[in-house]
Amino acid sequence: MQSDTTSATTPALELSRVVKSFGAVVALRSGSLRLENGSIHALIGENGAGKSTLVKIIAGLYRRDGGDFRLRGEEVDFHTTAQSKANGIAVIYQEPTLFPDLSVVENIFMGRQPTGRLGRIDRAAMHAEATEIFDRLGVRIDPDRPTDGLSIADQQIIEIAKAISLDASVLVMDEPTAALSGVEVDRLFSVARSLRDEGRALVFISHRFDEVFDLCDTVTVMRDGAHVDTMPISDTTVDDLVRMMVGRDVTEMFPKLPAEIGDEVLTVDGLTQPGVFHDVSFSVHAGEIVGLAGLVGAGRSEVARAVFGVDPYRDGSVHVDGAPLPKSRPNAAMARGLALVPEDRRRQGLVLDLPVTRNITLAVRSRLARFGLIWGARENESARVWASRLEVKTAALDTESGTLSGGNQQKVVLGKWLATDPKILIVDEPTRGIDVGTKAEVHRLLSQLAQQGIAILMISSELPEVLGMADRVLVMREGRLTGEFKREQATPEAVMLAATADEEAAR
């Protein structure tokens, strides 16, 4: 049911029953969004609900297959991002795309620099306009500095400045606060409010309910590629929203099996890397699932990568079974039984152009060798074992991994690391971007592995997942451990408090 807004005004943007498929996968079954001027509109939904597909259609990156798309009442169909920009739509992604070698001013105006006689770029005018925009936004950034080295927060501000200079009437912000500190979030919000007060329309995509309730006036919920409901924020609660997002009771999703918890296998002590994480200490026991919760940008993945050896750390130590683990040597970590299923499966977990076989056997290639030689039959054998154990959906083993669905790709990555017979398994966002069915499979798998005595460190930004799976929950915020809870003590409120508050939560 659409709520009754003042129907006299034409909405800035309206999508209704938009459909989009990729091959046989339906990303959007019925996407709808009605965006009014002078409003900050939250768009929420689980991973895979179709939010980012909807946004990409608005941005002109994709063309819709069906449904209605109206801008200020007029039907539109964008073929390119340039077209949507020309129509006053600006999208600010989590990872801003700027030109690192060029200055802030040039980034803002690239392609549309103000010109004077002979087509000569009017630098003074550019500079003046940039300064004026920054003043209006209340930020102090040197317009002449290179964008290289700017924090994500500042890069986002520059994207917003771009949007303002384009006089964008619609701004979409896709999880903008993921990498921001508290202070930066405040600044972003005051900027957003001032844009709203100017009559522009904003879409705010986020997983953080406190922010949604703080900033937005309207909320749209999506689930499984379809619009569920839209209502004013004041008319709803977090519980209602969660129920609409998930569509089922939260608890029944995670089949946690009991496992015997043994000795301490992984000990991390005082791990510090300046600017990234500070004095992180924790341990993981055999058979235990330790959840590492926190907001995106808290430094959890960085800690995992440092423990595994892909990233360096300055101070502190890591011990496996009591013996020290050398830093910055992933193959040393692997030799001691560590495995890391990374956060970004497409860039870090898989080599997309290689077939499933090669990906699954990549980490155990030396083990598969006989007299130093390796050949197809042995790789196929190993790949077959793991592909079938994990029920990877692929017709043949030599299909390019890039053509598999997200869930199957994740299974390939898991297979790759399970093939190493690890003692300690670190999984970073194991079910991100995966369909519901595969999610449950992964959770069941992790439980079984714990039962077999493997120590598991699970990093996840999905609170229900952490609470459902973990024997112990650690919480990080801004590079520090701010909380540790046993399973019984871990409540959503306690964990969220530790993840977002300034003072340490009670242990």
């Binding site: 920009k85 030109f99 070698d101 300064t131 040197d142 317009p143 500095r145 290179p146 080295g149 500042d154």
Partner: protein
């Protein structure tokens, strides 16, 4: 309460600071140092009619080619075919004069530049449309163009007597003591620098080199710009070919051989990053000047000029190592500034 980065610095001081630290300044200083050293050891290096003239004349042709090459490198591409283009257009120049007596010099200039532009267009089209790396395409066209050159030349050679005197004058003559060719090169340099700095089409080249996918997202017309960059590089090589004929009078099928690597070296020494997005044509031109001046200065300084190429190699490696250190340091500085204010 605000958390952002450096407050805007004092504009004039900041600008001056950037100038002093700029690679171009360093190269200029190096040039002065080399010339000074050579002159001290052998005053006729500069203080003689021929000395001063040769000082400016020798690098002029490479300067022009390096300017074109820099423009391509800035877009994150490379043009290995320029040496062959120089050879072809030099021979075209000679042939036109030899076969069509009384042809106005201007026409020959236009023909040479036009041929260069067409050859560059072929490169650009293959790179921009077939999405094949420029390294490979221009490697291929380098062979093709050189082969055509040799086939056309056959066993002939253009001799000075084939060329009109007025044309030869251009190559060796001076205006107020400054060689005409050098003035021409400077003219090209000044215009190219102005265009790259002040016109949208110039700035977009930097954007494309800095981040090609972002450039697409911004809606920049990447294909058109890349195409244009190669046409410019080809035209510059074409111009250099015409000037080659004017300068040397003799044109064999060997003209311009190896110039592509020298031009790339000159650009890299001059601060043009091999991955694009950074550098100026001033730097490339100065780099060419430094390279060739060092070559001429070496024998005077007492170094066997057989060590020329080694010196070039050291300069190139030194330049890119310096670039890397400077970039890392700057990046760390910029990030640290950000961290302080968090």
């Amino acid at each position: 309460m605000t958390t952002t980065t450096t407050a805007p610095a004092h504009p004039v001081l900041a600008g001056l600071g950037r100038l002093v630290r700029a690679r171009e300044t360093g190269i200029a200083i190096a040039i002065v140092a080399v010339v000074a050293l050579a002159t001290v050891l052998n005053p006729s290096f500069v203080f003689s009619n021929d000395g001063f003239r040769d000082l400016l004349l020798t690098p002029s042709l490479l300067m022009v080619v390096a300017i074109g090459q820099a423009i391509v490198i800035i877009t994150r591409n490379v043009d290995l075919s320029v040496g062959s283009v120089v050879g072809l257009t030099a021979y075209l120049t000679g042939s036109l004069f030899a076969d069509v007596p009384g042809l106005p010099i201007v026409v020959v200039f236009v023909a040479g530049i036009a041929l260069g532009a067409v050859l560059g267009l072929i490169n650009g089209a293959l790179v921009a449309f077939a999405k094949v790396p420029a390294l490979v395409i221009t490697l291929g066209t380098m062979y093709i163009y050189r082969g055509i050159n040799v086939a056309w030349t056959g066993s002939d050679r253009i001799n000075a007597s084939d060329l009109p005197a007025a044309f030869r004058e251009l190559g060796t003559g001076t205006v107020l003591g400054i060689p005409f060719l050098f003035l021409l090169a400077v003219l090209v340099l000044v215009y190219a620098a102005w265009h790259l700095r002040n016109l949208r089409s110039g700035r977009e080249l930097y954007a494309i080199g800095s981040d090609p996918s972002a450039a697409q997202l911004y809606g920049l017309r990447v294909t058109r710009r890349v195409l244009a960059a190669f046409v410019v590089s080809g035209s510059a090589a074409g111009l250099a070919g015409v000037l080659y004929a004017a300068r040397y009078g003799t044109v064999s099928s060997n003209a311009g051989f190896g110039w592509e690597l020298e031009a790339i070296g000159a650009a890299v020494i001059g601060g043009v990053a091999i991955f694009g997005g950074v550098g100026t044509v001033w730097g490339a031109a100065l780099g060419a000047f430094l390279l060739l001046t060092i070559n001429r200065a070496l024998p005077i300084i007492g170094v066997d000029d057989f060590w020329q190429r080694a010196v070039v190699g050291v300069l190139i490696i030194g330049a890119i190592v310096l670039d890397r250190i400077a970039a890392q340091r700057q990046h760390r500085r910029l990030v640290a500034q950000r961290e302080e204010t968090r």
